[in-house]
Symmetry: D2
Subunit: 350 residues, 4 copies
């Protein structure tokens, strides 16, 4: 506690994940917030842009200046849109800055998969140095990563529910379906009638069914675990809540001996030592409200009474474990801190 704090800067800090990064940095025992960078709102008072910071953070939003950042900060969080993020990350990496990038730009090993879903990559030569920041599955590689690609919110929820099953061969690797329900904050702060209160409350709907770009990200991680390429079916939904992702995943058991309980056992084994994951007891189902505002993941398993299908479920807060909290968790591992530092708070319930 007497050691020098790690100086952190938040680039693209004026959206929802930015606000959440600031909240978590402020509450972290080893971090110090240097500044908030956002080109579109540069010069405005921080509290006017992020109203929860009125009276908490003084000063104004800064313009992006990679030289100043490299000098002032030990680490930068990038919460910019894809492509724009790659440019900013590249500028920071050229100056030797450690970067935790929350965009999709460095999540894919395979450039062609990235470009099929996101368009041309601005700096493909940097892909090899990135480590995928799902701590529970990539902890060792993260210990000396200079560039961390923080996972997408849906891939975090789906992969953590399915990883114990796929890794241990408890389910067949083909035929996996992920039906995910997200709160509206996942759509970001950009305004649209589709995310207005009046057109969202009382509305549940799928979007980009079978064609959402988090699908290939889930496939990448599950294929790694399976040791062979696999395809999944992925349908994201918006439901009328601000935060949270509930992933309900369906897979065929590899044998008749696989049960909900053996799946839970595998999860407990895989996540032993992971401070963020809690495996629910049999019969309990995850609820996004139970993890809201926390970096926690609740995972639970069931089996269909008639069909025998394995049902793997997980709940996260999309802005915390699905984004900003996960970035802090990566930072903790990278800087040799306690993995749960600043992240142990339970959910705000209710």
């Amino acid at each position: 506690m007497t050691s020098k704090p790690i100086r952190a800067i938040v680039v693209g800090g004026t959206g929802y994940t930015g606000a959440e990064l600031v909240r978590l940095v402020l509450g972290h025992p080893s971090l110090e917030l240097v500044s908030i960078v956002g080109n579109q709102t540069a010069g405005q008072a921080v509290g006017d842009v992020l109203p929860s910071l009125r009276g908490v953070v003084d000063g104004v939003v800064q313009t992006f200046d990679p030289d100043a950042i490299a000098e002032q900060a030990d680490v930068a969080f990038c919460a910019l849109p894809h492509a724009a993020s790659a440019e900013a990350v590249s500028a920071l990496r050229q100056r030797g800055q450690k970067v935790l990038d929350l965009s999709a730009d460095f999540r894919f090993e395979n450039l062609s998969v990235y470009e099929a879903w996101y368009g041309k990559h601005p700096v493909p030569e940097r892909l090899p140095e990135a480590v995928y920041g799902l701590v529970e599955l990539h902890r060792e590689e993260l210990r000396d990563a200079e560039l961390v690609a923080v996972p997408g919110c849906y891939p975090t929820a789906a992969t953590l529910a399915l990883a114990p099953l796929v890794k241990n061969g408890l389910v067949q690797s083909e035929g996996i379906t992920v039906d995910a329900k997200s709160g509206v904050s996942g759509a970001g702060r950009t305004v649209s009638s589709a995310t207005s209160f009046s057109e969202t409350a009382e509305g549940a709907r799928a979007y980009k069914a079978g064609a959402h770009r988090h699908g290939p990200e889930i496939e990448q991680e599950l294929s790694r675990l399976a040791g062979a390429p696999l395809n999944i079916t992925f349908v994201p939904h918006l439901v009328p809540m601000t935060r949270g992702i509930l992933a309900t995943c369906y897979a065929q058991p590899a044998s008749t001996s696989v049960t909900a309980e053996s799946c839970a056992e595998a999860a407990r084994a895989l996540y032993a030592g992971s401070p963020s994951v809690h495996v629910l007891d049999e019969g309990q189902h995850p609820d996004t409200l139970w993890v809201r505002g926390s970096n926690r993941v609740h995972v639970g398993y069931a089996q269909d009474r008639n069909s025998g299908t394995i049902i793997a479920m997980s709940a996260i807060d999309n802005l915390v474990k699905g984004a900003s909290g996960q970035a802090i968790q990566c930072l903790n591992v990278r800087f040799g801190l306690d993995e749960g530092a600043g992240l142990r708070a339970p959910a705000q319930w209710p």
Copy 2:
């Protein structure tokens, strides 16, 4: 319009489906509301029990008296809990009353399936006279039904999305998964902390995953259409809204020529002449808000880009097409009225 109105009585009319039945009966050009029956609230002013009826319906809630009902009414809606409903229905049928029963008691052809999920049936001898009231699939049988078993809310949503595919052999009959998201009113008016505002808002969760009793009801209907018994995987969810069910159904295409568009074509053919069903254009996804308060069903299809899985989606209002509106629709068919009478209103949007 000059013909004598059909006199309708609502038994068990003091919960949510009861309130909705009253609203629809009042707005129906050929129906007349005789009274509202509810033993627990008998003697209380209708408007004190159902606050939306203050200033609209005078008088008090009545005690259940089958003789009086048989004399005063041409048809009775029963919105009682299962088992209690079977008793009341039986008393009314003994007096020759036509009954539309919204409970599960008469939905199953196979007594053993009913009893495996609901417990002992009070009057199994009446099962053969019941007709399953999913109008779009049982229209002809309903024309002279004396006892209609109005389908469950989840089976309505799931069956209507899948029927065109299963009936036409577009999908494999094994391996069908139904992931359904329901508004909280589906849990009825009984109070519990699980449906309190504070523990429900911001919470999405599965319940009874793989073990909900609407699963076998969906299987019954799809098996009829497939011409052979089939099993499905069924997981219901609660999401923070009052009304609506969104069913997202996953099935494997029977051949590589099956596409989202061919599924939509099959649906348009099957539902031609059905005033309640609208098949969305390709790329559109159903939204519960778009049908809220109406008897309408929006159905849409997609295909996963990677896995090829067919995604069949439907949205209904659980209290209307999933309960009270469907009961009215059955009545319309039974009494030779226009099937859409009193049910053509679009949703209250937003």
Copy 3:
């Protein structure tokens, strides 16, 4: 029923009040919908613009053409923004069209009040022909009105709660405070982060406190009733719901003999014969959910135990009695129909 239907056209029909007008016109026994006009979305399919009308209303949104409207329709509803509305109304009136205008443009007797709050009036010469469409207070004048200024949502709620008190001298005319809580749909369909789901759910807030332009409109109506100019204090709030206005109004009793019950009596007397208003019994408080989707107004009264202040409360659906339903109610009076025609449905509850 055998008489020719009244042909109605909805100008500016692609926002929330437009959608609600269409819903109500379709359900009205004496009205026929001619078309929906909206310059910004002209040429698009109606169901693509108003998703609740998919499968209900065919055809496309029309361009504004006053000659065509005058020829095709017996009456036009104008649901355009202020100033734009005055222009359209004027064009229609020049062609002899009866118009129900939902904007603020013709609500004020006093041009200078209008211009102080809304800016220059495009056609001030038309103000004298307009009748303020709060049916309960202006029924007789509406019977031959050619131009009806449909009241604002807040003035409807506040005035109906306070009218019996002010008109009968039960409260002092100075010192009246109106604290109103509105659902988000009152802000219309224009997107903004202030009405996005994420920034609105879990947020209650005042806006334009003491400086909202519905304040002078309430003052105009209450001054008429008081027989002398009066000032009120008015603060509108947004609360996280889609529909509804709850007005809580505070006034000082004119004498110690004034009680909650005498206020309710005065309201029952004033609203006898008004099909839309229901005065609650003592101890009951209005709830926006109890009137949602209906043209009904619930009014109730209480008195502070310590201070003696009279508390007048009312609940309406801002899109129905606060806008589109009230326009239909005006039409009913103007065309000599039953005042409650097409408007008697109870709320959709819950």
Copy 4:
């Protein structure tokens, strides 16, 4: 940080304020959670009773045992219902335990006021030793308080908005009106149809208008500040959100020189040095979402353009600054810690 932690116990810790107390104690740098006490759920796993604590707090809920508490803990939080709380507090005080009581039992100086609103007081002889825990107004008395009466949620919000005005004579002390809007969690965890999701979403309503027992509590505090007894008008409302209170308060300016800005100045002066209160700039209005989950109070002022009435507004989280956070704040002052320790986190936004 190397000093021994203060050992805290939470009595009545299984409702919403209990959950929030546990969350705040766990995150406090100087506190250690000893146990959670709750007679009704004693013996159950903590995580089964408070689902956000699964995987966070092990062990079971304890039975109330004042001897054990006095031995194990340095301080006890009591979050029991009134009357029950007085008994428990008395038992703890007899053993010399410092107590922070969240019930109403020790908030009133005047026994007769308490008994007029809450019924017979079990231990009136303990009233004199209690200090009212609104830190911003009672900081000095709290420094050596052995029994702290943590204020009610509405009195916290209303008093903090009005205190600068009443204390400085900026407004007339008679004629003050408080219109408060609360989230549903304020009603606690007891189930009722009035707080069920289906009957609460889309519903705004007053309750106990002019007759709520937080009225006299507000009057007590404002009378202290005014130096003479005063009466207010108080109407609480439920709006469809889980957390938050927005108080909109109306008062007549004492002179024509009083403006919104002079009110804000008085507030800035009074709250200088108060880490929890932030006075908004002119034109800004408080929003409950901006403080949700934090111990912060946002206060803002406006003046009605027509009537000149002063509008004082405040937003708090009812479970934090309105209950559990305020209790921690009192503890901080009592134990000589930094007043903002463990309470500086900004809101979770959105």
